[in-house]
C-alpha cells in the first residue's frame, strides 16, 4: 500500500495530516494561516483559509506539472523576399494557433499565476509527424489552411513552424493562493469539496471542485486538470434553495445540504458534463430534525442530522444517486467525510476525536464500528500554549466558538445585526494582506472577535452541544471503539433533545432568512450559558461551555486534540490496510493494549538478525552433534509417501472433455538423498482401467488456469511442451487446487534441489493472467552450438500479479501491474497460494492490481427506427466480447476469476482505438470491420465498449514504488563481472513521460526519486543497453536514441530521432550489450544494423521475423521473444517463449528459433542472465550440473565470476 494522507483541521484552524504509514499527526507548518476547511484528493489538498481565500496545496511529485505552450509562425512566399512574414490581408496572423484563428504572438503568453515558472525560452519544434524536419522546423503547403509536408515543393507558397515553450507549476507542497476572480466573486466561501476524478479516464489531476458561499450559493470550479491544477474560473450553479454544505465523491455523486435541512442531489453528472444538470431533493432522514451535514463517496452517502445522529443512505449508486432509504447508525458526530474506497471518517461530538469507520468493504458499505484515531500530534507539548490570542483570532473560525461569554456575545450579536441585511457576517473583515502577517499578530485583535462561523457549522454546534447529559453515557473517550448495536430508530429516540436547548429544529427552520443568524445566535447563547452552569462540573468536552474564553484554557497539553474538520479524499485505505492509528495512545490515556503493537516494536531487520543468530546456533549444534556421526544409521527409515485425490482431467483423445480421474503423487527419496516423485492419473478407457504418469523431475512447469467455471491447472513436461498439449487437470475447489499446486510445486523444486529465492540471473516471465514465473538459467542455455533446449527449462511460480517485469544481473527486479503501479522485488519468494514452507515469511507483502473487463454493445441500423439492438439473425450477439462470438451481457459477465472482485459499475469506455462519438459509439459498415468514431452514410452497424474495473488482492515479494504509475521500465543490464554501484533505471509513466530513477543500487533497488527527462511527445517503450545506450519508442511509432548517457550524466543530454521502418509503427524496444531490437505494431521483429560505438544510432532496420509480440535482449545479446503463433504436434499456441539460436558476437541476428513454454505468455525478460556459456567444452545435456541452478545462498557467486 502506498502511503497516503488523511487531512484534518483542529479547532484552532491548524492543518494536520496523518500518513497511512505514520503514527502521528504532522502539522502542516507551511500554512502560515489558519484554515477553516480542507478537502483532499490524492495529489493535492484544497482549503479555505481564514482570509476566506481558497488555497491549493499540490503535493510534490517527481513528475512535474508541465504545460506545453505552442504557437505557429506563418509565412508566405513572394517573388521578392522569398518566404517572409508579409502575408496576404486575407491570411491568418503571422503568429497564430494551429487553426490560424487566434492571434498568438510569442510575447502574448503570460504565466497563469504566480505559482508557475517558465522552464526555458521558446524554441522551434523540428519534429513533424514522427519525422525530423530540416533545420528551422518549417513545414510547407500550397496555401493556408492545407496539408503540410516537411519537404518544400515547387508549389509551396506558404510555410509554418511550431514554437514550443514549457511552463512548470512550481508551488509544490505549499499553500498557494488561488487568485480571486476579477469578476467580483461573491461572498466568501464557507465550504468546499473536491472529487469527481473517477468520472473520466483523464489522468490524475482532473477534479471537480464545488464550493458553497456564505450566502448559500454553490460554485463549480472549471478547468481543473493535471496541467492546470488551479482550474480557471468559478461558475455559478443554480439552486433550489440555500446550501450550507456540499460533498462531492470520487465518482459522480454530489450531495448538498439545504439550510432548511433537506438534502439535494446533483443529477446529470457525466464525463461530458462534470457539473451536472439539475438537482433532486431528498428529505432529511428524520422528519423533525433537519440534516446538517452530508458526506458522499462512490456508492455511499452518510448524513448527520441536527441532533448529531448519523445516517446511512441505502441503495445509492451511479444510476440512482438519490438512493432509496435512510438507516440510522450508531454514533453521534459533528462532521463526516468519505474518502477513497468509500471509507468513512467522522468527528465525534462527544470528544472531538477523529473516528474511523472500521469494516467498510464493498459488500458492507456501512462498516462495523467506529474506532477513534488515537495517535498524538507532532510537537503536542510545544503547542499547548495555543494561546488565548490564537483562540481569539483563529479558533473562532471553527464552529465551537459561539461563546457563552456575555461580553463577547454583545459584540457578536451587534455584528450580526449589522450584517443581517443579507451579506452574511464578515465579507471584508479580514483583508487578504493581513494574512501575510501571522494571524496571531496582536495588531488586529478586535477583528477576529467577529464570529466568522459559517452558517452550517453554526448550527451543528448549537445543536451538537446542547446535550450535557451525554457525558454521563458509558461510552467514554477511554473506549475507542464504539460497539455497533442494532440500528433501530427507537434507540435514537431515547435521546430526545435536552431541555436546556432553546433551539428546537422547528425554530431553526422557521425564521425568515435574513433574520436567522440574529435570532439563533441570541437564543443559542442563552442556551449555552445555561449549559455552562449545568455542566460545569461534568467537564464535558461536548459542551460549548468548555470552549469559552472565560474558562481556564481547556486545551492544555494533556488534552487530546479537538478536531473541527477531516478529509479523507486523499487517503487510500481499505479493509485490508494495516493502520497504526488506533493503538498508540498519548499521555496517560493508554488503556489500549493491543498485540499489534508488538509488530511495531520489532523491525524486520531485528527479526532477520535474530533469525540469523538462531540459524547459526542451530548450524553449530548440527556440526557439533552430527558431523562426526553421519555414518550412523537413521532411526527412522524414509519410506514412500503417497497423496491421493480425485480430479477431472481434460482427456487426450477426441472428443476432448473433462473426465473424472484419480490422482496420486508418490514421493520418495532418491538414491542421492534428493526427493523425487511420480504423478499418476488413473482413468477409465472404455471400461478399462488405465493410467498416465509423469515423473516429478521431468515436470517443467505448473500453470494455474483459474477461470470462472473450473479450478484448472496445466502440467507441462518437455514432451508436452513440444506437443503444445499439457496435462490439464481441474480440482473440485479452489482450495484443493492451491493445496495441490503448492504440494506439486514443492515436490518439483525438491527434485531439482531448488529452494529459496530466485538467483540474480533468473529469467522472469509473465502469463496473460498476470502470474509470475521464474526459471534458473543453466550455464548451457546460451551455449554454442548446442544450447539447453528451451522446452527443458524449469519454471516455478512466485506470488504477485504483474503485467510486465524487468530485471538485471545484480538482482534488481521491477514490475508493473495492470493498473500501472510500479513494484520492486523484495528478495522473498512464495506468497500467493504458496504458504508455509514454500514461501518466505519475510519480504512478502500485500499486492493489489486493478484491470478492466470489456464487453461490447452492438447495434444495427434499420430505416425505420435507426440504430436498435435488433440485429440480423446472422449478426453477433447484441452484447458480446470483442470477437462477437460469445455473449457477454452486463449481468452475466463475471470477473476473470474468483480472485477478482468488481470495484466499479459498468461504464462506457471512450478510450478505444479509432475514437468514439460522444456516446462512445464506433461505426462500421458491417460486423466485423474496422470501426471509426463518427458516422458516415455507409455505416450500418455501431458498437461501443463498456468497461468495468475489477480488483485482485494477493501477496507476493513485491513492494510498491509510489506514486507515479508506469507503462514501461528498463534496468541497466550489468555484466556479471562489473561492480556497478548506482544502476540506471529508466521508465515511461503512463502519461508518456520519460523518467530516470535515481539512487538505485543492489541494496536499494527501489531507488529514491524520479528525474524527469523532457520530451516533445509522449513515449511508450524504453530500454537501456549494457553500455548505457538508451533507446525509446514514441507514441507516434518512431524511435529515439538518447545521447551521452553515462554514470556521470544519468539522464543524458538530448534525443536523436530515428525514423521507424517504412510504413511501420514501432511499439517496443530492447537493447542488449550491443544489439538493438524493436517490435512493431504488426508483429515484426527488427534488428538495428550498423550500430557502432562511434555511431550508436545505427543505420537501418533489418527484418528478422514476424509474429512477434515482445522481445527481450539480454546482456549477452541473447534474444528471446514472445511469439504469437507456434505450431506444436497436437495444438497451436499463442504467446510462446522462444529463444534465438545461433546468436554470436559476429552474428548477432542468430539463425533460428527454439520454442519454449507457452501459450498464454505475455512477457519475458532475460536481462538478468549474464552467465557466459562454457566455451571450451561442449556442454552435455546429461551433465547434472547443467540442470542445477546457481546456488542461491551465496550471493557473491551470483554477482561475480560466474562461469569462470
Amino acid at each position: 500500500m502506498p502511503v497516503s494522507l488523511l487531512w484534518a483541521v483542529d479547532v484552532y484552524g491548524r492543518v494536520y495530516s496523518l500518513s497511512t504509514g505514520g503514527q502521528q499527526w504532522e502539522q502542516c507548518r507551511d500554512a502560515q494561516m489558519e484554515f477553516k476547511r480542507v478537502t483532499a484528493a490524492q495529489q493535492c489538498c484544497w482549503g479555505i483559509a481564514c482570509d476566506n481565500n481558497i488555497y491549493l496545496n499540490v503535493h510534490a511529485s517527481d513528475l512535474p506539472v508541465r504545460y506545453q505552450e505552442e504557437t505557429y509562425e506563418n509565412q508566405r512566399w513572394n517573388p521578392v523576399d522569398g518566404f517572409s512574414e508579409r502575408l496576404l490581408p486575407s491570411d491568418r496572423w503571422q503568429w497564430s494557433d494551429v487553426t490560424g484563428l487566434q492571434h498568438q504572438p510569442l510575447d502574448g503568453f503570460q504565466l497563469p499565476s504566480g505559482s508557475w515558472e517558465w522552464e526555458g525560452d521558446w524554441y522551434v519544434d523540428e519534429n513533424f509527424e514522427g519525422e525530423p524536419t530540416e533545420k528551422g522546423g518549417w513545414s510547407y503547403a500550397i496555401d493556408f489552411p492545407a496539408t503540410y509536408t516537411k519537404d518544400k515543393k515547387w508549389n509551396s507558397c506558404v510555410r509554418r513552424r511550431r514554437w514550443l515553450r514549457y511552463r512548470r507549476y512550481k508551488a509544490m507542497d505549499t499553500w498557494a493562493k488561488i487568485p480571486s476572480q476579477q469578476t467580483a466573486l461573491p461572498d466568501p466561501f464557507s465550504d468546499i469539496s473536491c472529487g469527481g476524478w473517477e468520472i473520466s479516464e483523464e489522468p490524475r489531476g482532473r477534479l471537480s471542485l464545488w464550493a458553497v458561499s456564505l450566502q448559500g450559493k454553490v460554485w463549480f470550479r472549471e478547468g481543473i486538470y493535471h496541467h492546470n491544477p488551479e482550474g480557471s474560473s468559478w461558475e455559478d450553479v443554480l439552486l433550489p434553495g440555500e446550501v450550507v454544505q456540499i460533498s462531492c465523491g470520487p465518482g459522480d455523486l454530489v450531495w448538498a445540504v439545504l439550510w432548511e435541512g433537506q438534502l439535494i442531489v446533483r443529477e446529470g453528472i457525466s464525463r461530458d458534463c462534470p457539473k451536472g444538470s439539475s438537482w433532486a431533493v431528498v428529505e432529511s432522514p428524520s422528519p423533525d430534525v433537519g440534516a446538517i451535514h452530508v458526506a458522499v463517496g462512490i456508492n455511499v452517502v452518510w448524513a448527520v442530522t441536527k441532533d448529531n445522529k448519523v445516517w446511512f443512505r441505502r441503495g445509492v449508486n451511479s444510476h440512482n444517486p438519490c438512493g432509496s432509504g435512510w438507516i440510522s447508525m450508531v454514533g453521534e458526530m459533528i462532521t463526516m467525510n468519505v474518502g477513497l474506497n468509500d471509507q468513512v471518517w467522522a468527528i465525534s461530538c462527544e470528544d472531538r476525536a477523529v473516528y474511523f469507520r472500521q469494516g467498510v468493504t464493498s459488500s458492507e458499505l456501512s462498516g462495523k464500528t467506529w474506532k477513534a484515531i488515537t495517535v498524538p500530534r507532532d510537537g503536542d507539548r510545544s503547542h499547548s500554549s495555543a494561546s488565548a490570542n490564537s483562540l481569539q483570532s483563529a479558533g473562532c473560525y471553527f464552529c465551537g466558538e459561539v461563546r457563552a461569554q456575555s461580553v463577547a456575545s454583545d459584540v457578536e450579536s451587534d455584528a450580526e445585526k449589522a450584517s443581517a441585511d443579507g451579506a452574511g457576517c464578515h465579507v471584508t473583515s479580514t483583508s487578504p494582506e493581513s494574512l501575510a502577517e501571522a494571524p496571531t499578530d496582536s495588531s488586529n485583535p478586535p477583528k477576529p472577535r467577529i464570529p466568522k462561523v459559517t452558517s452550517d457549522s453554526f448550527i451543528s454546534e448549537l445543536v451538537s452541544d446542547r446535550e450535557p447529559g451525554k457525558s454521563s453515557r458509558d461510552i467514554g473517550s477511554a473506549t475507542p471503539a464504539v460497539p455497533e448495536e442494532e440500528s433501530i430508530p427507537g434507540e435514537g429516540a431515547l435521546k430526545a433533545p435536552c431541555a436546556t436547548s432553546a433551539l428546537s429544529p422547528s425554530q431553526s427552520g422557521g425564521p425568515p432568512d435574513p433574520q436567522w443568524s440574529n435570532v439563533d445566535l441570541e437564543e443559542a447563547q442563552q442556551a449555552q450559558t445555561v449549559a455552562v452552569q449545568d455542566s460545569a462540573d461534568t467537564c464535558s468536552l461536548s459542551s460549548v461551555a468548555t470552549y469559552t474564553l472565560a474558562m481556564d484554557d481547556p486545551y492544555g497539553a494533556d488534552e487530546h486534540p479537538l478536531w473541527a474538520w477531516v478529509s479523507g479524499g486523499g487517503c487510500s485505505v481499505d479493509s485490508h490496510s494495516q493502520l497504526n492509528w488506533f493503538n498508540c495512545s498519548m499521555n496517560t490515556s493508554s488503556l489500549v493494549s493491543s498485540v499489534q503493537s508488538m509488530s511495531l516494536s520489532v523491525s524486520p531487520a531485528q527479526t532477520a538478525a535474530w533469525r540469523k543468530q538462531i540459524f547459526e546456533q542451530l548450524s553449530e549444534r548440527t556440526k557439533r552433534e552430527m558431523d562426526n556421526f553421519r555414518h550412523y544409521e537413521q532411526a527412522i527409515e524414509q519410506s514412500v509417501w503417497v497423496k491421493k485425490g480425485t480430479m477431472q482431467w481434460w482427456r487426450d483423445w477426441k472428443p476432448h472433455k473433462w473426465i473424472d480421474v484419480h490422482f496420486a503423487l508418490e514421493q520418495f527419496s532418491g538414491p542421492d538423498g534428493n526427493k523425487d516423485g511420480i504423478l499418476f492419473i488413473y482413468y477409465n478407457y472404455y471400461e478399462e482401467k488405465k493410467y498416465l504418469h509423469a515423473f516429478i523431475n521431468e515436470v517443467t512447469i505448473l500453470v494455474p488456469v483459474l477461470n470462472d467455471s473450473k479450478h484448472t491447472f496445466a502440467i507441462y513436461t518437455p514432451e508436452r511442451t513440444k506437443q503444445r498439449w499439457p496435462i490439464r487437470l481441474a480440482a473440485a475447489t479452489e482450495l484443493e487446487m492451491h493445496d495441490w499446486l503448492a504440494l506439486l510445486s514443492v515436490s518439483c523444486c525438491d527434485s531439482r534441489a531448488i529452494q529459496g529465492p530466485p538467483s540474480k540471473q533468473a529469467i522472469w516471465s509473465i502469463t496473460c493472467k498476470g502470474d509470475i514465473f521464474i526459471s534458473e538459467p543453466s550455464p548451457g542455455l546460451e551455449a554454442m552450438p548446442y544450447p539447453t533446449p528451451c522446452d527443458q527449462m524449469f519454471w516455478r511460480q512466485i506470488g504477485g500479479h504483474l503485467r510486465m517485469v524487468e530485471c538485471n544481473s545484480v538482482g534488481i527486479v521491477w514490475g508493473i501491474g495492470y493498473d500501472h503501479t510500479a513494484w520492486v522485488y523484495t528478495g522473498g519468494y512464495g506468497g500467493g497460494f504458496f504458504q508455509g514452507l514454500a514461501s518466505s515469511t519475510d519480504n512478502i507483502y500485500t499486492q493489489t492490481d486493478v484491470k478492466s473487463v470489456y464487453i461490447y454493445e452492438n447495434q444495427r441500423w434499420n430505416p425505420v427506427t435507426g440504430y436498435t439492438n435488433r440485429g440480423l439473425p446472422t449478426d453477433r450477439y447484441m452484447w458480446s466480447d470483442a470477437s462477437g462470438l460469445h455473449e457477454c451481457t452486463k449481468t452475466n459477465t463475471k470477473p476473470p476469476s474468483p480472485h477478482w472482485t468488481w470495484v466499479s459499475e459498468w461504464a462506457i469506455d471512450y478510450s478505444v482505438s479509432g475514437g468514439t462519438d460522444r456516446e462512445g459509439w464506433q461505426f462500421a459498415a458491417d460486423f466485423p470491420a474496422s470501426y471509426h468514431g463518427y458516422k458516415t452514410m455507409k455505416d450500418f452497424v455501431r458498437r461501443r465498449r463498456w468497461a468495468r474495473k475489477c480488483k485482485l488482492t494477493t501477496t507476493g515479494p513485491w513492494q510498491e514504488i509510489p506514486p507515479i504509475p508506469l507503462s514501461d521500465v528498463t534496468i541497466l543490464p550489468c555484466a556479471a563481472q562489473s561492480s556497478v554501484d548506482v544502476v540506471s533505471v529508466w521508465a515511461i509513466s503512463n502519461k508518456g513521460d520519460v523518467l530516470c530513477r535515481l539512487g538505485v543500487t543492489a541494496l536499494t533497488p527501489a531507488g529514491s526519486s524520479w528525474l524527469h527527462v523532457g520530451t516533445d511527445q509522449p513515449f511508450k517503450s524504453i530500454s537501456i543497453g549494457a553500455a548505457s545506450q538508451v533507446w525509446a519508442i514514441a507514441r507516434d511509432g518512431s524511435a529515439f536514441y538518447r545521447g551521452s548517457v553515462s554514470a556521470q550524466s544519468p539522464a543524458g543530454d538530448c534525443w536523436y530521432h530515428i525514423p521507424s521502418p517504412a510504413k511501420q509503427k514501432l511499439k517496443q524496444v530492447s537493447v542488449g550489450r550491443t544489439s538493438v531490437y524493436t517490435v512493431d505494431e504488426n508483429g515484426n521483429l527488427w534488428y538495428r544494423q550498423g550500430v557502432t560505438p562511434s555511431y550508436p544510432q545505427g543505420s537501418t532496420w533489418e527484418h528478422i521475423s514476424n509474429n512477434v509480440r515482445k522481445v527481450s535482449v539480454g546482456p549477452l545479446d541473447q534474444v528471446w521473444i514472445i511469439a504469437d503463433k507456434v505450431q506444436g504436434s497436437h495444438s497451436l499456441s499463442c504467446g510462446t517463449v522462444c529463444h534465438r539460436l545461433g546468436v554470436q558476437p559476429m552474428e548477432p541476428k542468430g539463425q533460428s528459433w527454439d520454442y519454449g513454454i507457452g501459450g498464454g505468455w505475455d512477457h519475458i525478460t532475460v536481462r538478468g542472465n549474464s552467465i557466459e556459456p562454457p566455451r571450451l567444452r561442449l556442454p552435455s545435456l546429461t551433465d547434472p550440473s547443467s540442470r542445477r541452478p546457481v546456488p542461491v545462498r551465496n550471493p557473491e557467486v551470483n554477482g561475480n565470476a560466474v562461469g569462470s
Binding site: 508488538m598 546456533q617 542451530l618 544409521e633 509417501w641 518466505s840
Partner: protein
Amino acid sequence: MADDKDVLRDVWFGRIPTCFTLNQDEVTEREAEPYYLLLPRVSYLTLVTDKVKKHFLKVMRAEDVEEMWFEYEGTPLKWHYPIGVLFDLHASNNVLPWSITVHFKNFPEHDLLHCPSNSVIEAHFMSSIKEADALKHKSQVVNDMQKKDHKQLWMGLQNDKFDQFWAMNRKLMEYPTEEGGFRYIPFRIYQTMSDRPFIQKLFRPTSPEGNAHTLGDLLKEMYPDALTNDGKSPHKGTRWVNTLRHSSYPTAYLSVISFGDGRK
C-alpha cells in the same frame, strides 16, 4: 539469508548420535554388540527404537524379555519427554555419542510410564498438541481439523516427514495479529535439579502494557535462577528450542521466536 523454513528444517532434522548398550545384568545368550543410531531430537525414544529392540532381542531369549526401558547414568529416561529434552537435560555436557543403557527387566514403575504400543505415544502426542492449542487458540484450530489431519500430524512425526508434518502444523502456528495473536504461550520448563516434573504456567505473549514479552521475561517470571544457571548461549538456544517444543510439540520453533525476538 536464513529463512524461517531453514530454521524449521534444522530444528526438525536435529539428530543426536546415540550408542545403545545392553545392561550388563540382562541375561544373554551371547555378548551383545552396542548399537549406534542417529535419534531425531523431536521424536520420542520408544517411537524410534524398534531397531534397537530388534538388535538386542537377537541375543536374548524371549522369556527374559519384559518391557524395554532406557537409562542414562542411573537415571531412567522418561519416554514421554522428547528426545532432545532428555539429552539436553541429562547429557548435553558429555561426550558424544550419548550412551544409553537398555533394560528389559525391573521396569521402574515409580519413574516411568508404561508404553505398550505406539498408540500410547500417539495419544500422548495428540494430547500435547491439543493442550498447546487450547493455550494458543482456545482449541479452535485443532478442533477445526479433521481426523485425517490429526493423523497426518502423527504420521509426519512417526515417519519423520517434515513436509507432511508442517503442511498441517502451520495451521496450528498461525497467529492472526488482528485477533491478538496467541492467547498464551505454551511452554514447559524442565529442571535438572528438581523433583517437580516441570514448570508450566499461563503466560501471555504480551504484557498488560502491550509490550511483547521475551524469553527473558518468561524466565524472570517463572524461574529467576535459570539465567544464571545456564551460561552458554548457543547451548541455551537449542535447549529452549527443544524444551519449548515439548509442551506444544509443534510450537517448537514459533514459541522460541516469539520469546527470542519478542514477536511472539
